[in-house]
């Protein structure tokens, strides 16, 4: 009878089955339909039809989807555990580089210097043999493993130190920034063996499919969508579980959580690593679609932008983050094309506007409006917290 009154915790699987947080089903629905319609319209509809989705739009959307996944990963730690990472671009980029290294190896002897093993930039810098950390990247499974492992491990090590010594709030944000900045500088160095400023580029094919081919693009697009959907489910799974509630507890009252017997640092570490892995995957899917990965992905500015996507969409409302990523990036694409001189005003203005007038982001705010209409039907822990977020 208690169950009737409020959501009782029947375990994460059950709560995932019985209902996703606000708008979750709609969201997944949209992803599903997009995954079906876009390829179809691209392949079947004639270019003239207004509903035909041209190929360049497909890979553009694919790019957005990757950004969305990245935003999702940030929302998971920021919205729910109150960890503001200003260095999440680092994990994204590391995932990207892992994939990039695979694609590089796939080029084989088709590089300009025709060296069977070494990528062009190495030939060029007089490298005689492949550095050890490039071994194995010619195997796709290994690369995929690294895509998740490298960011995961970095996140684990970094988080292990940071959370154990209880670095919180602004301090944490700043050192995450320091992390990504250090990596930025490191990857700029040509001696590192990652192609320096030019990064990795000039990719030919993935798993034998030509990257230029429309089919491949559609494939990657759909793959990204699937990754996003899965990522979303993972996040829901976590946030719906009791662990999710512990995270919120940590966000709202860390010491209370400690005195209730939870090892806060482990919880933070866990979610931080999960988030980093998601970011890595996003990066890995991003690289083949844009055809280049280079150090500027590590730049602190990029990481800050990701946070802004989440804020615009609505912190602590998973699919809000996705929405934010889409809106901001679409805006960027559109404005840079249509108002090349003035787009920065618009983007900057958008950020100021959201913070001033939509403090909970689009989804958060609209959520509270909806709540106003519907009579007191609570219990969706995703919508409420945005209201009572205690800033870190």
């Amino acid at each position: 009878m208690a169950d009737a009154m409020y959501k009782t915790n029947k375990g994460p699987f059950v709560s995932l089955m019985t209902g996703l947080p606000g708008g979750g089903k709609t969201f997944l629905g949209i992803l599903l339909v997009a995954a079906l319609l876009v390829p179809l319209s691209n392949l079947l509809l004639p270019a003239s039809s207004p509903f035909h989705v041209p190929t360049y739009l497909v890979s553009l959307m694919g790019k957005y989807v990757c950004f969305a996944l990245l935003a999702l990963s940030v929302d998971l730690i920021w919205g729910f555990a109150g960890i503001l990472s200003l260095g999440h671009g680092a994990f994204f980029a590391l995932g990207g580089y892992s994939m990039g290294m695979y694609l590089m190896r796939q080029i084989g002897d088709r590089g300009v210097y025709g060296h069977p093993i070494l990528p062009d930039f190495m030939v060029f810098l007089n490298w005689t043999e492949l550095p050890w950390y490039w071994y194995g990247f010619d195997m796709f499974p290994f690369a995929i493993l690294m895509v998740m492992l490298v960011p995961g491990v970095l996140a684990f090590v970094f988080g292990w130190f940071a959370f154990r010594s209880r670095v919180t709030g602004v301090y944490l944000s700043i050192i995450t920034q320091a992390m990504t900045y250090a990596l930025l500088l490191a990857f700029f160095r040509n001696d590192m063996g990652f192609g320096g400023n030019n990064g990795l580029t000039d990719f030919k094919d993935i798993l034998g499919f030509d990257l230029q081919a429309t089919g491949t693009r559609l494939g990657l697009f759909v793959a990204s969508l699937i990754a996003l959907a899965l990522g979303y489910l993972v996040c829901c799974f976590i946030t719906q579980s009791k662990l999710g509630r512990v995270l919120i507890a940590i966000r709202d009252a860390e010491s209370r959580t400690r005195f209730s017997g939870y090892r806060v640092e482990y919880y933070k570490l866990f979610v931080f690593v999960v988030s980093a892995v998601l970011a890595g995957i996003a990066g890995a899917l991003y690289v083949p679609q844009v055809g280049i990965i280079n150090p500027s992905e590590f730049s602190p500015a990029n990481s800050i932008e990701v946070v802004i996507w989440v804020a615009v969409g609505g912190r602590g409302t998973l699919w809000g983050a996705v929405l934010g990523a889409f809106l901001v990036n679409w805006g960027k694409s559109y404005f840079t094309g249509s108002f090349p001189e003035a787009w920065l005003y618009m983007l900057g203005g958008l950020f100021v506007f959201t913070t001033l007038f939509l403090p909970k982001g689009i989804v958060g705010t609209s959520g509270t409006w909806i709540e106003k209409f519907k009579e007191r039907r609570r219990g969706s822990p995703e919508l409420a917290p945005a209201a009572a977020v205690k800033e870190e």
């Binding site: 509630r245 919120i248 209730s260 017997g261 009572a388």
Partner: protein
């Protein structure tokens, strides 16, 4: 875990639930605790009073592992050296703490607040896959009753009144089912009626648990009618029944000023 406890066991009497000996803490120069020593017996209810800055909260911090003492011993259940452990571990040992300012998880329902405080394994993975069984639900309902919040179970803790938050926090302590409760000013900002009820509540609790209450409100302390320890400048000034300490000359000096 048991084994470590045994290893740590020391010569002093193993019967006491809480044992502080010569504990001193100082924050850059200022001595918050100064060679503080006292003992709480199992099942005992102890009221601790003292002017501001007497070191009451610091003492709590030391016991719950938030602050490490510079010198002195702190033992729990006779054998366990609390100075060696962190908050989470100590909480799981069975020491619950209620803060001076009521702290609950405002953005979650009363029910979930209690659920989070459930006694049990609190590792990351277990929590991830945790599901409530009927016994646990029953337990939560029971505590909801005890703290008189059954109707509000579905509300956000943030929407509760001050007094209700105080109770909810006590309820969360009870969920942990600790052997020792540290309660810091439980009736601050409560109406007389609420204060009454709280006193009753604590008296009930003390039947089954050891309780240490820090409080200013003399009426409330009297209502608790328990042994009283007076702290002053970080060390014990007097100890005994409320009347005896109230007639103690030095206590009067400290409270009324010389």
């Amino acid at each position: 875990m048991m084994s470590t406890q045994v290893k740590e066991s020391k010569k002093q009497d193993l019967t006491s639930i809480l044992y502080l000996d010569g504990v001193s803490v100082s924050f850059d120069g200022f001595k918050a605790l100064n060679n503080l020593s006292f003992v709480v017996e199992p099942g005992e209810m102890r009221a601790i009073i003292g002017p501001n800055g007497a070191g009451k909260t610091t003492m709590m911090d030391v016991i719950t592992g938030k602050t490490k003492p510079d010198t002195g011993e702190v033992f729990f259940k006779g054998g366990i050296d609390l100075t060696k452990h962190d908050e989470a571990f100590i909480a799981n040992l069975g020491i619950g703490r209620k803060f001076q300012k009521p702290t609950v998880f405002e953005s979650q329902t009363v029910f979930h607040n209690l659920e989070l405080s459930l006694k049990g394994e609190k590792g990351v993975m277990t929590t991830l896959f945790a599901a409530l069984n009927d016994a646990e639900v029953a337990r939560i309902m029971e505590i909801l009753g005890v703290i008189r919040l059954t109707e509000k179970a579905g509300d956000l803790a943030g929407s509760l009144s001050h007094g209700q938050k105080q109770w909810l926090e006590i309820g969360m302590l009870l969920m942990q089912d600790p052997d020792l409760l540290l309660v810091d000013e439980p009736v601050a900002g409560m109406t007389d009626a609420e204060t009454e009820q709280t006193a009753d509540l604590l008296r009930d609790i003390s039947k089954t648990h050891s309780v240490v209450v820090v409080e200013h409100d003399m009426e409330f302390v009297r209502a608790l009618n328990s042994k009283v320890t007076v702290l002053h400048e970080g060390s014990v000034l007097a100890e005994g029944s409320l009347d005896t300490v109230q007639n103690n000359q030095r206590v009067i000096e400290v409270y009324l000023g010389r």
